[in-house]
């Protein structure tokens, strides 16, 4: 049986919010949420409009059933399949290697930020590129990845006043998180570099190649390579 307690709440009259009673973010909960999604999309497709996963929750927009009936159906199919599926490796996750140019002209907060966290610029880059970040979910803006596992030494409160326009591709750090701005947008994160890969393409199906459970590794590129388009996004499989 599942080690987490799940709570089911009505979220308006068309959605169910399922919450994993876990105090913090973990890959274990992430896998559980993915498993849950996989089960219900297979077992109850006729009732599901769409699913919105997050750190410790899954919101399901549903149709053609009452809240009570739908929750019963969710619980039944989950219990029936949880143990079988937990044994198997549910899906192959990818590791994406993304180029980032950490030049100060692009990472315009790099100097101020490195002073704040009391590291040299090279140490910041090294710590930022050494971690394999897990994608927990996508949200906030089209194609924005919620990444976990930022090195504690890089944690830093957001800027007190957000910038009105952060350029597309900016790589930033805010609180305990790091991420890439898929489009130009306002934001309060410390910008330490820029990733020249377009993360979200409206004409692609799916529009974002990344999925929860995949991992991201950043690698540093020079300003020259950045300007001359001398980089690529590599994909590898972590199930060797």
């Amino acid at each position: 049986m599942n080690k987490y307690t799940l709570t089911y709440k009505a979220f308006g009259s068309t959605a169910v919010l399922i919450e994993w009673q876990a105090q913090q973010i973990s890959i274990d909960v992430l896998q559980d949420i993915q498993l849950f999604q996989q089960i219900i999309l297979t077992e109850l497709p006729e009732y599901i409009v769409e699913c919105i996963p997050a750190y410790v929750s899954l919101t399901i927009i549903y149709k053609n059933k009452s809240f009570d009936q739908f929750v019963l159906a969710l619980k039944a199919s989950y219990q029936k399949h949880f143990n079988n599926l937990k044994q198997e490796n549910i899906q192959k996750n990818n590791v994406w290697h993304l180029p980032v140019c950490y030049h100060q002209s692009l990472g315009f907060d790099l100097v101020a930020y490195s002073e704040k966290v009391q590291l040299t610029i090279n140490e910041v880059i090294e710590l930022h590129t050494n971690t394999l970040y897990t994608i927990y979910f996508l949200g906030f803006l089209p194609g924005f990845l919620y990444l976990g596992d930022l090195d504690e030494r890089l944690h830093c409160n957001r800027k007190s006043s957000p910038l009105l326009k952060i350029p597309k591709g900016s790589v930033g750090i805010g609180g305990k998180q790091t991420g890439i701005y898929p489009q130009a947008s306002p934001g309060g994160w410390h910008i330490i570099g820029n990733c020249p890969i377009t993360l979200f393409k409206v004409n692609d199906e799916p529009p974002s190649p990344f999925k929860p459970g995949d991992q991201i590794q950043f690698y540093a590129i020079s300003l020259e390579d950045y300007r001359q388009n001398n980089f690529s996004m590599a994909k590898s499989n972590n199930h060797a």
Binding site: K9, A10, F11, G12, S13, T14, A15, L17, E19, I25, V49, E50, C51, I52, P53, A54, Y55, V56, S57, T59, I61, F137, L138, G139, F140, L141, P142, G143, F144, Y146, P182, Q183, F200, V202, P206, P207, S208
Partner: protein, 280 residues
């Protein structure tokens, strides 16, 4: 084709929204007042997801180059066809070179112009709803040409005129259900939230902010889904009602959830209007 002569304050193409892409962080979008927009499509016997023009506060001026039929529902902006006043909530026949324009806003905030078979702007991720950067445009622009199908049939002799529900525009009660974090509020604050008259502050397709500050004792939550109609309570005590273009996830406590009817009703409210929440 439709030629945009004047854009109006904020006019956009909308259908019922972009379903199925919220897991990629793409907002739902779609018509703010789905009740009025559905009525407009219904009058033309259109499919419910046909794209309409959503006009905000001040309507556009539009030149039709081909015959068709249209219907205008929602806010009353004194619509005029070639300088003659035309009725809302009624099917209207359009001839080539007709000009539709709008005057003073009488009531409501948003009106919908539906056309026979819908406006044919490009489908992006299965929807024609404008939302930048998913679509190139956020609003229609001057001299823009918008496609529609030619439809040159006379109106039915026994065509219907819908009678509109005036409470939709006048009612200040906004029906809500408890949000996921409602129970975390102290009881006195739950009571207060449901017994205060709030005033509408800054508002747009993304969110309606309320003017009054509310005491906030709740901590942030781990980022989780938000929906159109979710009422968030920020650390500074601001209440934000998310609307159709809202982001897909957020970290503020979700204290209330508007019903679909309430979202449609709120979409017709403007700055300084009063609202009260009513639990259903």
């Amino acid at each position: 084709m439709l030629k945009v002569v004047q854009t109006g304050l904020y006019t956009s193409v909308q259908d019922l929204g972009r379903l199925g892409y919220r897991k990629y962080g793409v907002p739902l979008s779609g018509v703010m007042d789905a009740y009025a927009a559905r009525q407009a499509n219904l009058l033309l016997n259109n499919a419910e997801n046909c794209a309409v023009l959503e006009c905000t506060q001040t309507g556009p001026t539009l030149l039709f180059t081909q015959p068709s039929q249209i219907a205008i529902c929602g806010a009353d902006m004194n619509a005029r066809l070639n300088k003659g006043a035309v009725a809302l909530n009624k099917t209207l026949r359009i001839q080539a070179n007709d000009v539709l324009s709008f005057g003073k806003l009488e009531y409501g905030m948003r009106c919908y112009i539906a056309i026979k078979h819908g406006f044919k702007t490009p489908l992006v991720l299965n929807s024609r709803s404008y939302y930048k950067p998913i679509t190139i445009q956020q609003t229609i622009s001057s001299d823009q040409l918008i496609l529609y199908n030619v439809f040159d049939e006379p109106l039915h002799a026994n065509y219907v005129k819908l009678s509109i529900n005036r409470t939709h525009f006048k009612q200040s009660l906004i029906e809500v259900q408890p949000g996921p974090e409602f129970d975390l509020l102290p009881t006195n604050q739950q009571v207060m939230l449901l017994n205060t008259t709030f005033h509408i502050g800054i508002n747009n397709r993304m969110a309606y902010q309320l003017e009054e500050r509310f005491p906030n004792t709740l901590a942030s939550i781990l980022t989780s889904a938000v929906l159109p109609g979710t009422v968030q309570l920020t650390p500074s005590g601001k209440l934000i009602i998310l609307m159709r273009d809202a982001q897909t996830t957020g970290g503020y406590p979700r204290v209330l959830q508007l019903t679909e009817t309430a979202i449609n009703r709120l979409a017709q409210k403007k700055l300084n209007n009063e609202i009260q929440f009513k639990l259903v």
